[in-house]
Symmetry: none
Subunit: 240 residues, 4 copies
C-alpha cells in the first residue's frame, strides 16, 4: 500500500485571528513586492516576512498573482477612499483641480513601487478593463475632469477643452514626474510646488481666453493697431 506522508501538521500556531493573519500577509507582501518586484519576489520571501510558512499563504490567497492583485487593490482602495471627503471641503475650480493633481502626485509618491507594479502587471493587461482597478481609476479621472467641466460651465474654461488629452497630461505629468523623482531626491514637500506649477500651466492652457493660439496674429494685430495709434498720434502730433 502507498506509503503515508509524514505527519507535519500545526505546530501549535494560532497567534493571529483570521483577518489579522490575512492583513499581515498583505502587509508583508506589499513590502516585498515593492522592494523586489513581482517576478523577483518569491513566495518564500513573503512567507518569511510574514513570519509564517509558504503554504499558509495559499490558505488566504489563491496564488502569487492573486496575492499581488489583492495587495494592489488594498493599496488602491486606501488611496481612493480618502480624497472625496477632502475635496468636498475645497472651493473654487482652480483650488479643487489643484487638490486632485496634488493628491495624485502625493499618492504615487507614497508608493512609487506599487505604482509601477500597477502599471506593469495590472494596467497593461488585456483584461484591465474588467478589473476593479479600472473602475477605481475611472472614478478618479471622472472626478478630476468633472471639476474641469464645472469650470467650463462657469465660463472659466473654454468649452472646447479636449478632456481626454487633458487627462493624459494631468495624470501623465504626475506619473512621469514621480518616475523621475524616484531617482532624484525624495522630498514630499516639493510636491506642493509641483502641483502648483502643473495647475498653473493647465489653467493657462484651458482658460477661457483664446490665449496663445493666435499669438502671432494677435501680435500683428497689436502691431498694426500700434501703427494706427502711431499714425493717429502723428496726426495729433503737430504738437510741437
Amino acid at each position: 500500500m502507498p506509503e503515508l506522508k509524514k505527519a507535519t501538521g500545526n505546530g501549535g500556531q494560532r497567534r493571529l485571528p483570521l483577518h489579522e493573519r490575512r492583513a499581515a500577509i498583505l502587509a508583508a507582501a506589499r513590502t516585498v513586492f515593492a522592494k523586489m518586484g513581482y517576478e523577483q519576489a518569491s513566495m518564500v520571501d513573503i512567507a518569511n516576512a510574514s513570519g509564517i510558512v509558504e503554504g499558509t499563504i495559499y490558505i488566504h490567497f489563491q496564488n502569487k498573482l492573486d496575492l499581488l492583485t489583492k495587495v494592489l487593490e488594498t493599496w488602491y482602495e486606501e488611496i481612493l477612499s480618502g480624497y472625496q471627503a477632502q475635496l468636498a471641503g475645497i472651493e473654487g475650480t482652480r483650488n479643487r483641480l489643484r487638490f486632485m493633481i496634488w493628491y495624485n502626485l502625493y499618492s504615487l509618491h507614497q508608493n512609487r513601487d506599487l505604482c509601477r507594479l500597477l502599471v506593469v502587471h495590472v494596467r497593461s493587461h488585456f483584461n484591465y478593463r474588467h478589473t476593479s482597478f479600472y473602475e477605481m481609476n475611472c472614478r478618479y479621472s471622472e472626478d478630476t475632469l468633472a471639476i474641469v467641466q464645472e469650470g467650463i460651465a462657469k465660463g472659466e474654461f473654454r468649452a472646447d477643452v479636449p478632456l481626454d488629452i487633458l487627462r493624459d497630461m494631468l495624470f501623465g505629468a504626475a506619473e512621469y514626474h514621480i518616475g523621475r523623482y524616484f531617482r532624484a531626491v525624495s522630498d514630499a514637500r516639493a510636491l506642493d510646488q509641483v502641483a502648483d506649477t502643473i495647475v498653473e500651466l493647465v489653467c493657462r492652457a484651458i482658460a477661457v481666453e483664446p490665449s496663445a493660439a493666435p499669438v502671432a496674429d494677435t501680435l500683428s494685430r497689436l502691431e498694426s493697431l500700434a501703427a494706427s495709434l502711431d499714425a493717429s498720434s502723428r496726426r495729433l502730433a503737430p504738437r510741437i
Copy 2:
C-alpha cells in the same frame, strides 16, 4: 573531366559573419522580449527565433540581462538617430515642438512593449543615471526643451516657463496616452491629432500673453480704445 566539388559536410552551419549573427540574435531577442516580456522569455525561445542554439548567444552576449540591455539600446538608438535630421528641416517654434511631441508619441507607439521593458527593467533602476539610456533620454529632452527656450528667446513663450514640469507634461502625456492606447484601438494616424492637441494646449499654457483677461476681449478693447483715440485725436485735431 571537370572535378566535382566535394561536399563540405558543414551543412551550411556558419552562414553569417560574426556581426550579422550578433544582429540576428538581437533582432530575434527584440521580437521575443517584446512579445513575452523579460522573465517570460527564455533563452531557448530566443535561440530558436534566431535559428541558433542557446550556447551561441553567450558567445555574443554576457547573459540574458546584457542581451536585453543591448536590445533596448539598439532600439533606443534607432529612435534617437532619426529625429535630428528631420527636425533640422522644420521651421517655426510651434512646428518644431509639435514634431518632437509627435515623434515621441510615434516612437512609443511603434513599440510599446519595448517601451515597457525600458521602464521596468532600465528606467526604474538605481543606476539608471549611469546608463547610456539616461544620456540618450536627456538628449531628447534637451532637444525638446531647447525649442521651448528658443521660443522664450524669441519672445513667443514666457520667460518663466517651468521647463522641468513642462517636460513632465510633454513626455508624461505621451506615455500615459500610449499606455491607454495600448488597450484601445491602435490607429497610428490618430497620433497626428493627439500631437496637435497637446501642442495646442502646451502653447496656450506657456504663451507669452498674460492670461489674466481674455486676449480677444483685450484686443477689442484696445481696438475700441484705439478707435476712440483715433476719433478723439480727430476731434482734438482742430486744436492746432
Copy 3:
C-alpha cells in the same frame, strides 16, 4: 406565561450521531475516490463532499489510506452480503454457476472505479493475504467453485477439472470484460448475455463428456445401436 426556549447558538452543528457521521464520510469518500482516484482525491475534497471539515475525518479514521481501506471494505461487504441469499433460491448447477458469474460481472460493472482502486491499492500489495479483502474474495471464489464441485459430485462435470485455473478464467474473463467495457458503451443489460456466453463456454469446457467424438453423433450412434439391439432382440424373441 410559557417560557420561550432559548436559542442554543449551536447553529445546528452536531447534526448527526457518531455512527451516521462516520457513514456520511464513508459515502462521500467513496464517491470522491471513485471519481478522482486515490492520489488525486484530497482530504479537503472528501471533507467538502461530506459537509464537514478535514480535521473531523481524522476523528473517525486514522489517515487517508485507512479511509480508502474502510471505503473499499464497506463496498466489498455490500457486494458479498447480497449474493448468498439469492444463490440459495437458484437450482441447477449451471444456473447457479451462471448466477455467480453474472453477479461478479454485475458488481464490477456497478463500480469499476472502486474495483480499480481495489486492484491497485489493495490487491497488489504484499500483505493482501492478511487483509479482510483476501478473505472475502476467497469466500466468493470458494462459493463459486463449490458449485463446480457439486457439479462434479453429481457427475455433471469431469472429476479432473483444474479448479484454480477455472477460477482464473471465470474471474479473469469478468474483469477483463469490464475493463474493456469501461471504454466502450456501458449497457448493464448486455451483461446477461455475457454471463450466458461465459457459462456456456465454461460448461462445455468442463462437461463430463469426453470431447473425443461428437456427443450428438455418439448419442445417435448409441440410439441406432439401441434400435438395432431392440430390433434384433425382437427378432431374437421368437426364440423363447
Copy 4:
C-alpha cells in the same frame, strides 16, 4: 535591474551519447516505476537511479507521464516484437493457440508491475483507443483470434464461437492468474502447465462437438436409452 541567476551549467558531464542517455533514463525509470508505482515514484528517484540530475530528464522527456508512457511503450514493443517469428514456426491450431496463451502469460509474468501500470495508467484512460498501446494490443488479440478462426475454418472449432468473450477469457485468465501469482510463489516453469491447462479448457469449450451444453439432456436421453435397452434386454431376457 533584475538579479542574475547564479551560474550552474554543465559540470563537465557528457558521458553518454544521446541515445544511450535516453535509454539509461528509460531503464532507470522502468525499474523505479515498477518498484514504486507511478505516483509514489518521484522524478528525483528516477534521476538518482539514472545517475543524473532531475532537470536532465526533462531534456529527454516532456514530463513524468510522458516518461511513463515511453517506458511502457518500450516494454510493450519488446514484448510484441518477439512472438510472430516464433509463432511462424509452430504448427497445429492447438499448438499455436497454446503458444499465444503461454507467451502472454510469460510476458506478463516477466514484468507484472509494468503490466499493472499499463492497466491503471494507460488502458483505463479515455484516450486509450488512440494510443499505440491500443494498436499493439489489438494486433496481439487479432493474431490470437486468427488462430481460432483458422481452427473454425478447418472444422476443428465450432463456427459459432463467441470470439470476443473468448478473448476476454483468454487474456483475462492470464492477467488474473499473473495477478494472483504475484502474491504467491513465482515460478516461471509452472507457466507451461498453466498454459496447457488453459488451452485444454478452451479447446474443450470451443471444440466442434456439441459438448457439455446439454449434458443433463444427454444424460436423460442416455438414461431413457438405457431403459429401453434394458426393456429390450428384458424382452431378450428369457435368457435362461
